[in-house]
């Protein structure tokens, strides 16, 4: 258990830093929402009918950014990015930090199993990924009440933040897996980050192209689109895909971590 507490402790500082970032993102961005003007309601119908690249240029595909849920969805896409990067940093450090610092022999020579070590490292990380989403949820509610906004989509707010946690966990488990498999930790870090950049770019392509539906599976950042959440639901297939990625890469992390030469 001492590993567990140590992992929790050393990740507090970065967590505070990331939490502050989310706070600024939420509170600052919501301050500028001007509300739906009279003409806006009509526009709201038109916007979603626009071709995708034009919608992308307006900031969001599939929802009207002039409504509060649409505006919130834009903010949440940036929160997704934060969650993903935070997940990568936690996931790769959970497995890679001690290897890179050459302190892994210290732990591995203690009378505990590797499964135990990895569990004690993965659980705190996953906890922090989820905690960031909880913070984001709380800060969202805070900023709504701060600016006296009438929120009639509280279920969607919750869904957005759950999606944020799931996206964080997808990247978290992927990077933990990569670090367990690859002998060279710097390569592990590199590939984890490349996967993120890749899904960012594929996400843009998916937004822009009319026939880009097939691309979506390659971009976890687009597994939970604003359009679907504003409509009140997750896409079951992509939720399942996220779960498969998380479970499969976690299981593989254990398999490879157990077998790897340190």
């Amino acid at each position: 258990m001492s590993i567990f507490w140590r992992e929790l402790k050393i990740n507090v500082k970065p967590f505070v830093f990331w939490g502050l970032g989310i706070f600024v993102l939420m509170v600052a961005s919501m301050a500028k929402y001007q509300g739906l003007s009279a003409g806006g309601a009509a526009v709201s119908q038109m916007l979603t009918a626009f071709p995708k690249p034009i919608q992308a240029m307006f900031g969001m595909v599939g929802v009207n950014v002039m409504t509060l849920p649409g505006y919130y969805a834009v903010v949440m896409t940036y929160a997704y990015i934060c969650s993903a990067i935070y997940g990568i940093s936690l996931g790769s450090h959970a497995v890679g930090r001690e290897i890179a610092d050459h302190t892994n022999e210290f732990l591995l020579s203690k009378p505990i199993s590797r499964v135990h070590i990895l569990t004690c490292k993965l659980v705190p990380g996953a906890f922090y990924v989820c905690a960031l989403s909880v913070l984001s949820y709380l800060f969202s509610l805070l900023s709504f009440s701060l600016y006296h906004m009438k929120v009639d989509f509280s279920r969607e707010v919750l869904l957005f933040n759950i999606a944020m946690a799931v996206i964080g966990l997808v990247f978290y488990s992927l990077s933990a897996f990569l670090l367990s498999v690859l002998k060279n930790t710097e390569k592990g870090y590199l590939y984890s980050n490349l996967i993120f950049v890749w899904s960012f770019i594929v996400g843009i392509a998916y937004d822009m192209l009319e026939k880009g539906e097939f691309m979506r599976i390659f971009s976890p950042l687009r597994y939970f689109t604003a359009k679907e959440i504003v409509a009140g639901e997750f896409n079951g297939m992509y939720l399942a895909a996220s779960c498969v990625i998380i479970i499969a890469s976690t299981v593989c992390s254990y398999l490879f971590f157990n077998k790897r030469d340190m």
């Binding site: 500028k32 526009v43 690249p53 307006f58 900031g59 870090y189 980050n193 770019i201």
Partner: protein, 260 residues
Amino acid sequence: MNIFIFETKKQILGVALWTVALLLVVWGLTVGVYPSFQSSISSIKHMIESFPAGFAAAFGVEMSNLFNFGGFYNFSFGYVSVMGAIMAAFLGISLFSREARSKCEDFLLTKPISRGTLFLIKFVVGIVLLCCANIFYLIVVIVVGSAHNLSMFLPGLSLLLTQLVVYAVSIFCAIFARKVRSVSGMATVIGFGAFIISALSNMLNEPFMRYLDVLKYFEPADVIAQGHYDFRFTFVALCVFFAMTASAYIRYTTRDTRSV
């Protein structure tokens, strides 16, 4: 010269691959997506005109520039600059944390060469590589732009100038960081940190936010509209560049080497 060759060898593959990726993105956007964008414009032109004026500006596109190639390039630059920023950050951090990461500062710093010269050589390696990458970028952008009768030299140069500022910032980060565990991780944070600040600056539409918005110091829209970069932000960019480089230089040449 030996250090120059050594560092260039270490960096060149990453820079080359990243440049190819960057070119693919800018080509994909301006050649792949733009025509379909253009063809759908005419059908919805009248709808857009009914939008509130402040709205479109809040999301990075000036209404008046929305329909032409320049406006679209400016929009694409929002993404291209993120990739460029990651590339510049990666270079800067990699160059200036190499010895610390492999714990061999003793090796390099007991060679008969002054720390100032070391800093300078490493610094030049990054600049040269960024310039080389941007030659290719400029060629692609100018060729694509000429098809739309737009001179793309200055709008294309925005990338290099933005990258130089990010490069200086990342050198600063690499030298002042207590420990650099992962070059790619730090570069991603710098690149996307700048992206989110940029997005926030767009949404808030507060003048002071643009001073923090590194990716928009040399916004192509300014050049396309006015024929030159915005002087205020050029000045800010210069200040950031020199302040970051100078403080990194001072720290690099005067700090105590850590024993391992």
